[in-house]
Symmetry: C2
Subunit: 354 residues, 2 copies
Amino acid sequence: MTTKNATIKDVAREANVSVASVSRVLNGLGGVTPETQKIVREVAARLNYIPDNAARSLITGRTHTIGAVLPDLYGEFFSELIRGIDLAARARGLHLLVSSSHDGVADAAAAVRAMRGRVDGMLILSEYVDAAFLEQNLPEKLPAVLLDSPVKNTRYPVLNIDNRAGAIAMVRHLVEAGHQRVAFITGPKTNFDAQQREKGYRAAMAKYAPDAPLVIVDGDFTEESGYRAARELLARKPRPQAVFAANDMMAIGCLYAFKEAGIDVPGDIALAGFDDILIARYVTPPLSTVHVSIADLGRLALERLAALLNPTDKTPASVETLGCDIVIRESCGRKAGVTVAPTKPRRVSRPSPT
Amino acid sequence: MTTKNATIKDVAREANVSVASVSRVLNGLGGVTPETQKIVREVAARLNYIPDNAARSLITGRTHTIGAVLPDLYGEFFSELIRGIDLAARARGLHLLVSSSHDGVADAAAAVRAMRGRVDGMLILSEYVDAAFLEQNLPEKLPAVLLDSPVKNTRYPVLNIDNRAGAIAMVRHLVEAGHQRVAFITGPKTNFDAQQREKGYRAAMAKYAPDAPLVIVDGDFTEESGYRAARELLARKPRPQAVFAANDMMAIGCLYAFKEAGIDVPGDIALAGFDDILIARYVTPPLSTVHVSIADLGRLALERLAALLNPTDKTPASVETLGCDIVIRESCGRKAGVTVAPTKPRRVSRPSPT
DNA sequence: GTGAAAGCGCTAACAT
DNA sequence: ATGTTAGCGCTTTCAC
């Protein structure tokens, strides 16, 4: 227990070799006799030598760390996203530096800039980030992958969720199940996902139920806004036959509003959400929804980034899209049966590409 | 767009000052004329200069980053924990490096050692970590806080959840509500939380229902194991009057088993879980459970660590405990009413310290 | 107020 | 096979 950690010099001195040899041994570069290796390893172990990554990074220019810039760490979406990223990262020996909760462009910029010298590449999911932002704040030559972003034509790959196709598939299912008057509850106006989902609803209605009125009520992704929207919808004449909420929490809010009003789901009205959060399976009746494999999104993003980290990689930047599956449970009128224990969501159909 | 990022030297040259002055200006150390400051800032902005943290860390010995070593990133527990840590960290200008999913001591050791030079301190939650492990793998003088750990008497502070008190409070409530025969479903045998919860159950039964038999069935924290345990419990004679599962997912498994068997909850049997996961409020009937403020645990851990980072801090290492609250919902017999929309969990009582 | 210079701990030429 | 040495980009004495 001395006061300072052992450095490579200490190891070299104690082992009577040069620092270069210590470095070679510990990095497995070869060109060292087995005896020297043995001595070095022994001394390193005895001194409990742990290389300093800051020094190593400074000279190699590599940190083996990737940065994830996210707007928030709240909820299932982000925990799943981080999990997917983390899994893929550690499979590649990469560490994960997370940065979240940015309340504005300046905040996001600071976060991105603070990553300089800490990471080899970045995964960015932020409404504040566009091409100009990246130009301004991203260190030169630092690879980055954008998630869930409207940005295109930059030198950075973008990975999106196919919200539009997911919404179309769900509306189509609802209409084909006999519900012409499908109402929609929107998400926050500035949210990219929410916008795409609404577009999907509109497109699908135009195609599959061209004669039905478009009924759109505002929501903000909270359970409470769903509850309010449901009450508003119940007052409409004629009452919608189905309600499609832009996310599951709002759908759950609807569920409680309907229950309170004595409206049976799916008997009196069909209900569907979007996201397939864990809760969706556990409410009564279980909620039909659009499943997005968020962990896969994270994994794919990291894999894309890892490819970029390899300097020989010449994959051009592109906008890729991750498909969604609709999951039909009882809330939209699937034949109700005994709710049984542990079941996996059933993937009913795969939305066609748009 | 040249090929390389600007360094402090580039800024110095362009501004016709020394690197020392640039450093002083950009770090706000004063001792520089306003004119010089202005020039330096302008040039730095023009060259889009972003300081390299690796170099800075190397010389200052500070990274302004803390490392979180966790066993897994799956589920609400860890997402809440990370959220709490992250919130507290960014409030202090600290970055967060996460490392997870370690399948063994060696893996955990590698994770901890890999943090050297990357972090100023660590938050560790791992069943593999004990005093010897820390001695072996933690760089000298690197502050660390242990979470949810049986370790004591080390030079590291420990922060635990008061699982035992939480379990006692719940059993007490169940007994006082008229259920003498309270059965318990355990968690994984090696899990520290699970052990403490079982101890609490045993202690509470001895105290509040000394004449009732101890009925304990094995589970492993999964919904499926809860389902199986419930079926086993239904076969017992006499049938338990209440079931207390060591976590919510198992309680939910029970719920489905009971529903399937036509057993009414709470009419025929009372049910309670532990954790207060989000789902608990949404199942039918809503699940009574023991609430743990995981985000607070993360926040407190980080605050403790932040205090340690300050070299003047002389707070002695100690074992601190975070209390739990029981949340009584309908599953254990609260007067059933109309299930209304958005409600916050009601904290019914605070368990007495053990 | 400003600059020159000495490293922080490590890797990677380049010698030997 | 091994050692010497020059930095990586920055902060921080210590002179001036």
